[in-house]
Symmetry: C2
Subunit: 353 residues, 2 copies
């Protein structure tokens, strides 16, 4: 029921809507919170974790704004279910493992979620389409206020919010934007940009956060520091740097069009040709062609496909999504076949030609 509803959800963060969504796919803000009187999850007994689960559930039910939230115990989910939530960026890798006592609160729109007993007692997340840091921050702030009415969060006047890992202490705020940077990758300017980001205390990660590779030319740019800056400063700094990276990407796109127009357009059109005709395709290859197609649509080279179609494909071509769509467990070759069929269907290349 949950998964069926999620598959039909049209307001999701990867809808291709929102401002600057030609390059800035989505915005994410998360807060780490812990509840006084309980040890951090990593040294917590199961009964204590279950206590936390109950407390968070009760607190969420008391918040008026959220009347359509799902409450999920992670140990009730199968492997494909957990993978599915991970593919939608609703939980972390960490949250799919050692699931006893772990939980998830998820609003119907997927915009708001809480991982319970991940690294901290609560990892509150707001995720939105496009470039929307201020609204996301206001929203999460409000949720934090509401929750704090019912949950006594561990807070030190000197250090700020206390967290399981010292790198999060302070605001315990991490904000990030997912950027699509194919031209910076093609022109090999990406390394300079990543180096600069690192010097400015920002982190750039792959599609699935910490420890993952850049697939499909997506980069998640986030703040590194959580201590010594106000929440407003963190949001403003990230906002500034993301705008700059976007400008760099636009400059690289213009350079490609000016100097290598035919080669660039050739790559874009070939990607469309392959996606519309393939009968077998891996997720990795699909991502790479979808990325070229995305930039082709942004630049007006390809007019017959819309951005939301491509964004949706980025999500649904992933293994667990394919299995949820087909409602059965699929082996790798079966997935490659179904993936190709679904891509053709969405790009009007014909599903069962």
């Amino acid at each position: 029921m949950l998964f069926k509803k999620l598959l039909e959800n049209n307001n999701k963060w990867f809808s291709g809507k929102g401002s600057h969504s030609d390059i800035i796919i989505s915005t994410r803000v998360r807060l780490a919170r812990n509840i006084e009187g309980y040890p951090f999850p990593w040294k917590s007994a199961l009964f204590a974790k279950r206590d936390i689960l109950d407390k968070v559930k009760d607190a969420v039910h008391k918040i008026q704004y959220i009347n359509d939230a799902w409450f999920i115990k992670m140990d009730t989910l199968g492997a494909v279910d957990k993978q599915f939530l991970l593919e939608r960026h609703l939980i972390s890798q960490e949250h799919t493992r050692s699931v006893k006592g772990k939980g998830l609160v998820l609003s119907g729109s997927e915009e708001f979620s809480i991982m319970i007993n991940e690294e901290d007692h609560l990892r509150i997340q707001v995720i939105a389409a496009g470039f929307d840091l201020n609204r996301a921050w206001l929203f999460i702030n409000k949720m934090d206020d509401e929750l704090s009415k019912h949950l006594p969060f561990s807070f030190s006047p000197e250090l700020g919010y206390l967290t399981a890992c010292p790198t999060n202490v302070g605001t315990a705020l991490r904000a990030s934007c997912m950027l699509h940077l194919p031209a910076l990758v093609l022109t090999k300017n990406i390394d300079k940009v990543l180096e600069l980001l690192s010097k400015l205390s920002f982190t750039a990660r792959g599609l699935f956060g910490e420890g993952t590779q850049a697939v499909g030319n997506f980069f998640q740019v986030s703040n590194r520091a959580t201590l010594g800056l106000s929440e407003k400063e963190i949001i403003d700094n990230l906002s500034g740097v993301v705008r700059q990276v976007k400008e760099q990407e636009l400059t690289s796109r213009q350079a490609l069009i000016k100097k290598h127009r035919h080669t660039f357009e050739d790559s874009i059109w070939r990607s469309l040709g392959i996606l519309r005709n393939c009968r077998l395709i891996s997720a990795k290859e699909a991502f790479s062609h979808l990325s070229m197609l995305y930039v082709g649509v942004d630049l007006g080279i390809i007019k017959e496909v819309d951005r939301s179609t491509i964004n949706n494909l980025f999500i649904i071509v992933q293994p667990a999504h394919l299995q949820k769509i087909e409602d059965k467990v699929l082996k790798e070759e079966e997935r490659d076949y179904i993936r190709a069929s679904i891509i053709r269907e969405h790009l009007k290349g014909g599903r069962y030609v």
Copy 2:
């Protein structure tokens, strides 16, 4: 004028018509002849070669069947012109070099031609679409008879026809069929087939005959021996072996469909996708995708493209053809761009999208 007419010619050997033309693209028969009282071309003075040119021209004009023949002096042609004739298999590489005193007789349909002062005084060629050895042989035989009424051919009762190279002495007949063998190549069974052909005294060469590589999975299979066998035996033996190779190719295709259906179909459809969408493509890459497309059409996997379209593309995507079509000299990158445009146009992928 000649080139314009050739470009518009619909009855050419690569029309995709003729029997067995799913696999046997074309049939070629050639006779080497020399005229008594003149040294072979390689040791002949220019005035003697010019004598030969005149004699052959006069003889051709006396043949009633051929009333639409062009007579071309090779030294009047530019580099692109010669390359164009080579790409159409109407002359040899050898005939494009040291052109003084060399000539070409070419019937309007391209079916009949004579290279004058190539390795021998006359290299008479009949080329036809599909598998048509008997008719081609009857036709060239008749032409040989007609020409011999006006030209005293060097002939020894013991050795047969005398030729510049001893390997041609005897019947001086070489017959060949051009086969399209993608499945034998994909299944790597081609090596066994080529080895067997060699043992049986047949030669398999690439698309442009002697010393050329197999491009686009095309193989020219021809007789090696010209001495010790009658013309009929040569034709019959070749006919038998070509039918066998065709059977092998069909068996390999069925094996591919049975064991690797998805992978095989994926390659075929991707080739169509790339050809219909590319903006830059080399001749070599185009040949390889056209070859996959050809087999896809033969197997009924692709229904929207016809064989003659693909065969025509195999010819016109070549460098000199592109330059004749555009009527100007083109650099390599320009050719890659024009080639892609022309392919899209012919495969209804849109020329100027």
